[in-house]
């Protein structure tokens, strides 16, 4: 499967086609229950379509209750739509046959595209869709795809309706899909009114399990033939709202949520790596990530090589044949270091490996790494996304643009996966294969699922993300400027300051502001650092960032204390370093508090 920009068919067109066709001839139907064409046939049958399988090898046999025909011309009844589940080169011949039997629509499966055959069909009055899966599009338009955390692009003020539901009043859709602004998506993405009650706010589905309609339904869910809920370790209706929302804000294809930011990182690497694999990570990471990557992951057989990100070429130099990914923080914690995302993405792609960006401190409001080439974005949603210091959580977003089959580096995605009865995830789920595997294998087998209540608190927090981030960066800028002029302060590392070496990168990647977490050096070193955090009256001394409240930390004595002196210095957590997370309070009060605490360090 090669990655191309998808053809921008409007939702109106796809909905009209799916609502008007009744009989579908599926050319290339497989009798293997683990093949994508089988998934599609079974799913469409369940939605009420009459699907007629076409496959010369199986002609005359029965498949899912239908007789298989050897060719389209052999089908004795009218056919509304021909679905092409064959290699692109086969499309012209099938289109000729579709014209001959009077089909109204030709639909080419995800990965199948033949512009010349499409032109032939359209000249004959046939409507054409290429490089799309009817199962995925049906599920997307009807709201089912949201259950898997996929960014459907839909913004709804009523419950979603399947394309076949005709009981509702016709509502004309725009001829081209609309782009929705960030604040619209922050409030609406993933969350439609509850179909059962009309409740406008997302219900908290505090449930562990979901009833199966019957044994057949249960089997189809476990086999992933149908979208649906099984067990809250895998999917939960409240959690899936959060997943779709984060995917939408990052401009990604799909997301999977996890119990914490660390769990999100674990899901990411477990989905990518085999024992013995390696990856590169920036030295400027949250201290907990340094420990997770450098020590705990090593026990799983994964080696992380840490690279100074200040020169992007350092990553190229550190690559090894078994390197499977490059990981950076867009805005690093705690040093305020900004990585040149576009340059590192190019190095990763030259090496045929995905570029992973932790976007926790920047948030998609300030920076969207996928726009600069990131393939996967990780979040600790505990921070600015939830924003109120009241719920842990994590999320992994995939761009949908990485070609997992371009090399043999990612066999568990591009080849039959033994951990899911030999399913080929990339072939079956295409541009949301990564998160689907992260969910159905890593989340299933290791279990760091997000609690529905935390998902609810996080989606409520995200609704005000744009407003909060505006204030966070304005307050941080003012506090940083105050500190830079204070005689007890040795240095301030905030990319929003004119003096910052990262000012140029900040203007490129963080034009709305350089975040609200940064560090400065207090004169007097380790002892002054401890004196300062013990003297503040408004700032809370604790190990978190991204709260409405302003927070202060002395990393050397807390988050980074388990590291060596050398690692601490490399991570920007030297003895004099103070980390601030500037909150939403009145900024004059924050400055006054720091002023009196700094005075205490001098006495």
């Amino acid at each position: 499967m090669t990655i191309r920009e998808p053809i921008p068919y409007s939702d109106a067109k796809l909905r009209r086609i799916l609502a008007s066709v009744k009989t579908i001839a599926l050319v290339g139907a497989s009798d293997n229950w683990n093949r994508p064409s089988y998934f599609v046939m079974k799913y469409l049958q369940g939605k009420g379509y009459h699907v007629i399988p076409v496959n010369p090898r199986l002609a005359g046999q029965a498949l899912l209750g239908e007789t298989v025909y050897g060719a389209l011309q052999d089908i004795p009844q009218p056919v509304d739509m021909v679905e092409i589940f064959r290699a692109s080169e086969a499309a012209p011949g099938i289109v000729e046959a579709a014209i001959a039997i009077g089909a109204k629509v030709v639909w080419m499966q995800l990965g199948v595209r033949h512009d010349q055959a499409a032109a032939t069909a359209e000249a004959a009055g046939i409507e054409v869709v290429m490089d799309r899966c009817p199962k995925i599009e049906f599920g997307r338009l009807g709201g089912e795809l949201s259950w898997s955390g996929v960014n459907t692009g839909l913004i709804l003020n009523r419950a979603p309706a399947a394309p076949t539901e005709r009981h509702r009043k016709e509502r004309p859709l725009p001829p081209r899909n609309l782009e929705h602004g960030f604040a619209i998506r922050a409030i609406h993405s993933g969350a439609a009114p509850d179909p059962t009650t009309g409740a406008r706010s997302t219900p908290i589905y505090q449930t562990t399990a979901y009833v199966f309609d019957d044994v057949e339904h249960a089997a189809s869910l476990f086999n992933l033939h149908n979208f649906g809920y099984i067990y809250s370790r895998l999917t939960n209706p409240t959690v899936s709202v959060l997943e779709e929302r984060v995917a939408s804000l990052e401009g990604g294809r799909a997301a999977v949520a996890a119990a914490s930011g660390h769990a999100a990182q674990f899901l990411t690497f477990f989905t990518l790596l085999e024992p013995g694999d390696e990856f590169l990570a920036s030295t400027n990471l949250y201290g907990g990530s340094l420990t997770q990557f450098g020590l705990s992951f090593r026990k799983l057989g994964w080696a992380c090589h840490f690279v100074d990100p200040k020169d992007p070429e350092n990553f190229r130099r550190a690559l090894t044949p078994r390197c499977k990914a490059i990981f950076v923080e867009s805005l690093a914690n705690p040093g305020g270091v900004i990585v040149d995302l576009e340059a590192v993405a190019a190095i990763a792609h030259d090496a045929g490996i995905p570029f992973i960006v932790d976007n926790t401190l920047a948030t998609p409001y300030l920076c969207r790494p996928i726009e600069w080439g990131a393939d996967i974005v990780c979040h600790s949603t505990t921070k600015f996304l939830a924003g109120h210091g009241n719920s842990l959580g994590g999320a992994v977003v995939e761009s949908g643009r990485f070609d997992w089959a371009a090399s043999d580096k990612f066999p568990s995605l591009s080849q039959p996966e033994p951990a899911y009865h030999g399913l080929n995830f990339y072939e079956t789920f295409g541009d949301f294969a990564f998160t689907t595997k992260a969910r159905t294998v890593a989340l299933r087998d290791f279990g760091p699922a997000l609690a529905p209540m935390n998902a609810f608190l996080t989606i409520t927090g995200i609704e005000t993300l744009p407003l909060r981030m505006e204030r966070h960066v304005a307050n941080a800028q003012a506090v940083a400027e105050f500190l830079e002029g204070h005689r007890q302060v040795g240095w301030v590392s905030y990319a929003g300051l004119a003096s910052s070496p990262y000012r140029r990168l900040a203007e490129k990647y963080l034009p709305k502001g350089a975040g609200s977490v940064f560090t400065f050096g207090v004169k007097g070193g380790f002892e002054s650092g401890i004196k300062l955090v013990e003297s503040v009256r408004l700032f809370s001394h604790l190990a978190n960032v991204g709260d409405t409240r302003s927070l202060i930390l002395h990393p050397a004595s807390t988050t980074h204390r388990q590291l060596s002196d050398q690692q601490r210095l490399a991570a920007g957590a030297g003895p004099d370093v103070i980390r601030l997370s500037v909150g939403l309070e009145t900024v004059d009060d924050l400055i006054r508090d720091l002023d009196q605490a700094l005075a205490a360090t001098a006495s």
Binding site: D194, T196, A199, V211, D213, G228, Y229
Partner: protein, 403 residues
Amino acid sequence: MTDDPKGDDPKGDDPKGDHPEDDGPNWRPQTLAAQAMGWTDETTGAIIPPIHPATTYLRDADNAYRRGRMYARADNPTYDHASDLLTALEEGADTLLFASGMAAATAVFLALDPGDHVVVPKVMYWALRAWLHDSARRWGLDVEGVASDDLAGLAAAMRPGQTKLVWLETPANPLWTVSDIAAAAQLAHAAGAHLAVDSTVATPVFTRPLSLGADLVMHSATKYLNGHSDVVAGTLTTARQDALWGRIRQVLVQQGGILGAFEAWLLQRGMRSLFVRVEAAAASALALAHRLAAHPRVAQVLYPGLPDFAGHQLAARQMRGGFGGMLSIRVKGGEAAAVATAAKVRLWKRATSLGGVESLIEHRASVEGAGSPVPVDLLRLSVGLEALEDLYADLDQALRAAG
């Protein structure tokens, strides 16, 4: 939305999901409680009802509200699970959830008119008694207190045509006075009054006041119904949809003493284990009552399950299968000894409230203050789910240490 498209009306015939009693056998109360009426979510298949924090509901394009809900002050789908279950357990017609037991109890009186005569017990939950004798009187209700276990006195208090409500609490806090619901219902109805029963202590496990003739049953759901000391809530269940019930609903919606969605969800969660909790607490209470009655430092044990308790025979007839988890003891040595005993316990928690999984001890007279009928040497015991031997041993050492 699902593999089985359901026709035009998204609500179907049954807006609250699949209820097993609709088409299945007549499930027993324990079964209904454990499964919270067997509800499942039609949208997702979820086996536990979701918490609906939504304050408002969609209306259709023509301004109709076909889904039946408009604004969460009047109703919330999360309420349905707790209220439907309680309606079934109490064998009533409808249930309303309130922000507290006091919100539920006062709603009944506020649904009456100024000048109406109401008959209330002398021994009852003290906060409601205080409200009745102060606020309700100032509002214009003619409140008359009687000894509710004295049927002749109750009959004499009735003023046909003028008496609109008789209120009972049985067993009544904290002397556990037992009142005859069936007899009181006859007296009330003969006078044209409704009978309301505070059944907080009895719970539907042991008493079904509506089936004995009462018109309304009230619970402080904070106590046994929720059972985990983590929700403040109240309920009213009616025997029938009548004019008084309509006014009570109006009081709830217009004065706004509604339950939060999260609390309603916790309440249905707690009620799933109602029977095992209440039966276990009552078994321990009965055993403790017998053993404490023989304790050298205890002057008297008040518990409807003891054969020499004044209301025992009535309780044995009216309560089915047990006498509840509440008892009181009167400590030899008077108030000082009682207070000292409460000070010496290590396992029992000194706290107000009752009906939780943890055992509580309280010196009621000092809480209730002037005008209380409670003896100063009385300690109220709410028996929880701890090991009986631990509960007794702790009381025993406290009584001895205080003596």
